[in-house]
Symmetry: C2
Amino acid sequence: MAKRRTDGLSKEVIVQAAAAILDDGGEAALTFRALTARLSTGYGAIYHHVANKSDLLAAATDAVIARVMGDAVVGADPREALRTVSLGLFDAIDAHPWVGAQLSREPWRPALLEIYERIGGLLAALDVPEQTVFDAAGALVNYVLGVAGQNAANARLLDGDPADRSAFLGDIAARWASLDPEQYPFVHRAATRLRDHDDREQFLAGVDIFLAGIATLR
Amino acid sequence: MAKRRTDGLSKEVIVQAAAAILDDGGEAALTFRALTARLSTGYGAIYHHVANKSDLLAAATDAVIARVMGDAVVGADPREALRTVSLGLFDAIDAHPWVGAQLSREPWRPALLEIYERIGGLLAALDVPEQTVFDAAGALVNYVLGVAGQNAANARLLDGDPADRSAFLGDIAARWASLDPEQYPFVHRAATRLRDHDDREQFLAGVDIFLAGIATLR
DNA sequence: ACCTGAACACCGTTCAAGT
DNA sequence: ACCTGAACACCGTTCAAGT
């Protein structure tokens, strides 16, 4: 029926196909049935190269992160490099929302190791004392992945249409604005800011707060 | 066959049962079949009170967070209160790991609103300037949920046995220590710290870095 | 209004059989 | 060694029928 593929399968080919399906249709779209169809092959062929679905997701995540971390950030001072690397991760998770969820699922995987090494190394270059640099690295990595993941969840929801995004934010802003100011004073005030805030800018503002806090440790 | 329940079902009863199943067996254990068995009822009965599985998960999450946020933190100065609230969230997500994943999945839900209100209100009490308090709140909330979620992923993995935890950390530490120090200098050094670090302490250290950074905004 | 449970349209994964 | 695809043991969700 379906024509059989002539070239051999490999884990890399499978992982690339999985990433393409994930980018196209989100996590729900990645099924072994969709994969066999896309690769013109059978289940067993895939299981021959990949242990299971969770292995597949992890490998796809590692590939995306390795690509981002591979973009060298040379020459710049550590503070600027930290901003660049953080923003690179933010943008990568924005482009591949499934990466955000996966990173917090299997934290001992190569992807997170690369991230820790890069961010920790840059913090060490900032002359943060040895006994606190590990706390600082943990905090910064978690901040970056936390915001990026949250942002990705929104992006996934809105599916890329900027009109959707504006309507969605307007909707939430209206809901927040209609809350009782006595009971929700902060969120009530925040509503007016929500509509026209820039996610990337807010993300960078958070990184800067972090770096300012770290500077006090010196 | 199964005896039919005599008292009426309600969304609250269903949500409580779902939370109990989630605490017991993790996200994979929550199925409608397990729920009908535990509640001695049928699928339709549950769908009569709950829109679908995602609604059920969200409602269970809202209930947990509302309980944590309900614990008033009065009298203390804002800085101390922020530490207390952050730690309360950390501990709640540690005890109910499924909450962590859920919070980043549907961020417009009541649970996250409560968290923003509480943390934002305390930051405002710290005299953070109005134009930056929203950035600061976003950053702190994301840090707290990011670390808590990561920690919960580990906890889920280890399933509560402290011996497992020690062995697991020892395993990762050994793997990190065996990495090439040329290629992974930071992670290589971090390995020695990993074995005996305290997650809660490291979490609080991060909160403090944050608060120090926010103080520079004043 | 509230509940029952068979049935439907899916999943991930296995495995005997093929090349 | 690598691949095929029927089959198995599950899912979430629906809906005609009952009380």
